[in-house]
């Protein structure tokens, strides 16, 4: 079915990131007239890619979580492949080699085999062994039976089990870096999902990074009859009473629609509806560098896939006062996944917490200067924890909170969106739903799942209602997690 323009749509989806495209595939597949509108000329949102000086760069994606070998048909990754009609082989995922959480006096390594991590915790924190096991049992039971959206503090719950504050900080460091939308803490439901996704299932990456995945999604969407429009920013969600009736683009074009699924963010979506009061904007943002090396990182002894580092026994996850917080960070080496053939050039990505306001205030010249200075300082900071690769950098690219703001549209360049989540996807309007980061799921797998589940639950269910079989139980909220 060719993609066509329509006078009106069953659904307009705001944002061609992972969640928007996944939602689009579901709806187009079942015959709905769907249009995905994307503000930028490129797709992907937070997870995008580009070419610079003849090299491919990839932002956003460090790794996919929830990895299981392709013969394993259980778990979130397998289910989302089935829902999107993508064969697991098409993702061509390679599992990680091995990662580490490094603090001054302790180091915990983890692989995609949870037993390895478990043994590391037992060895380094022998007096916490039983308590850690109790926490793991709690997380396992929780995944099977509990409500995913438990709003209680993960800090409170975890510290009720684990008494050694160092182990608590070491568990929170990777989890917050990979999905913490607010300072210091997160909802226990999110902690549980992230703990399972990272430690109990695992990390993987396709050789080509995020690029082939996005291309597969776009191909699926278009071949199902969906229309993708880039350079189509949304000015307003036009409302009538308690319902949205259309989406007005920045070029004043109006797209009448029955449903709106928005991955723009909760606050950002409500602004498009001209609604008040607005929920708070997030403040957690990152500075990130991508360094291309003239050697394979492993030749320098940089042999891990991801290293989460922190330079004291207490991990501070918050918006820093300065441009960048160099005390902690993430070192990711995309080379270190078990690909069939190795990546040609060495690559190291460094990520650290950053302050949006400080970056946004800089003049263009000062911004450029600050980027380079922060890059040097971040390289220094990382060299305390991983082998120094500075002499081997042949190219680099840098992005700041203002870059994230530009590509995601999130206030403050908030990587993980608003501190307030809408786990059921509902808004104040009866036919406008949130998908993506602010629906409360993070990571690539979480974002894809968010798009699928919101499309199923709110649109396919409603769509099939008049004179048709009502899908009143499309899925429970928890999905496969």
């Amino acid at each position: 079915m060719p993609a066509t323009t329509h006078a009106s749509y069953d659904a307009v989806i705001i944002g061609a990131g992972m969640s928007g495209l996944a939602a689009g595939i579901r709806l187009a597949h079942f015959g709905l007239r769907v249009c995905v509108v994307e503000r930028h000329s490129s797709i992907g949102g937070l997870n995008s890619f580009y070419r610079l000086d003849g090299r491919n760069f990839d932002v956003g994606l460090h790794a996919l979580t929830n990895y299981r070998p392709s013969e394993c048909r259980r778990g979130p990754l397998a289910l989302l492949c089935r829902q999107l009609r993508i064969a697991r082989e098409e993702l061509a995922l390679a599992p990680q080699i091995g990662s580490a959480i490094v603090f001054p006096d302790a180091r915990l390594e983890f692989t995609n085999d949870f037993e390895h991590f478990r043994a590391e915790v037992h060895r380094h924190f022998p007096d916490q062994k039983e308590r850690f096991e109790e926490l793991v049992r709690h997380l396992a039971d929780y995944g099977e039976l509990g409500s995913p959206h438990t709003l209680c503090s993960a800090r409170e719950l975890v510290t009720a089990y684990i008494q050694d504050p160092l182990l608590v900080e070491m568990l929170f460091c990777p989890i917050l870096f990979y999905g913490g939308p607010r300072p210091h803490d997160l909802d226990f439901g999110q902690f549980s999902v992230l703990f399972r996704s990272i430690f109990m299932e695992g990390l993987a990456r396709p050789l080509g990074g995020v690029r082939p995945l996005l291309k597969t999604l776009v191909r699926k969407f278009k071949s199902a009859g969906g229309l993708l429009r880039v350079n189509a920013g949304v000015r307003e969600i036009v409302c009538s009473g308690q319902r949205a009736v259309a989406v007005r683009l920045e070029n004043e074009e109006v797209l009448p629609t029955r449903f709106v699924l928005s991955s723009a963010g909760l606050r950002e979506t409500m602004e498009l509806c001209r609604a008040t009061p607005l929920p708070p904007a997030g403040e957690i943002s990152f500075f990130e560098s991508i360094s291309i090396l003239d050697v394979q990182p492993a030749d320098l002894g940089l042999d891990k896939t991801v290293v989460f580092f922190n330079d004291s026994s207490r991990f501070v996850y918050a918006k820093p006062q300065e441009l960048v917080d160099f005390r902690s960070g993430v070192v990711c080496v995309p080379n270190h996944f078990a690909y069939d053939e190795p990546m040609t050039s060495g690559c190291v990505r460094l990520t650290a917490l950053a302050n949006y306001d400080r970056w946004a205030q800089l003049s263009p010249e000062a911004y450029h200067e600050a980027k380079l200075q922060c890059y040097q300082r971040l390289l220094e900071a990382a060299a305390r924890f991983v082998p120094d690769f500075r002499d081997h950098v042949v190219a680099h690219d840098l992005f700041t909170p203002t870059t994230i703001r530009r590509f995601t549209g999130h206030h403050n360049g908030a990587v993980y969106g608003s501190p307030e989540k809408r786990y059921d996807g509902r808004t104040h309007l009866e036919n406008v739903y949130i998908c993506g980061t602010d629906q409360g799921l993070v990571g690539i797998v979480g974002a894809l799942w968010s798009g699928i589940s919101m499309a199923n639950r709110h649109v396919l269910q409603e769509h099939s209602r008049p004179g048709a079989a009502p899908f009143s139980v499309v899925a429970d909220d928890r999905g496969p997690f």
Binding site: F30, G31, R85, N456, S464, P470, F471, S472, A475
Partner: protein, 86 residues
């Protein structure tokens, strides 16, 4: 459609939902869920695919009839007998 054609239609749908599954060993008497990895969401996709491909509407209270291949064919035969095979 005949029983055989309906059976083939269901197999085609299962293959599209779960391309990684080997469907050649499917026992028509046993529930699908005991033989392949199917989430409740996948199960609903079978219902939606039937609707999309053959315009068969299956009310929710009848979903249990689709548990196995034999029970599905038995349930669908009177409802699909006038539909030409794809």
């Amino acid at each position: 459609m005949t029983s055989a054609e309906i059976q083939k239609a269901i197999l085609d749908i299962l293959a599209s939902i779960a391309p990684d599954e080997d469907l050649s060993k499917l026992d028509p008497q046993k529930p699908f869920r005991d033989q392949m990895e199917l989430d409740s969401m996948d199960f609903l996709d079978i219902v939606m695919e039937l609707r999309k491909r053959y315009r068969v509407q299956i009310p929710e209270e009848d979903y249990p009839a689709l548990a196995s291949m034999n029970s599905s064919v038995e349930y669908l035969l009177p409802r699909m007998k006038d539909i030409p095979a794809a």
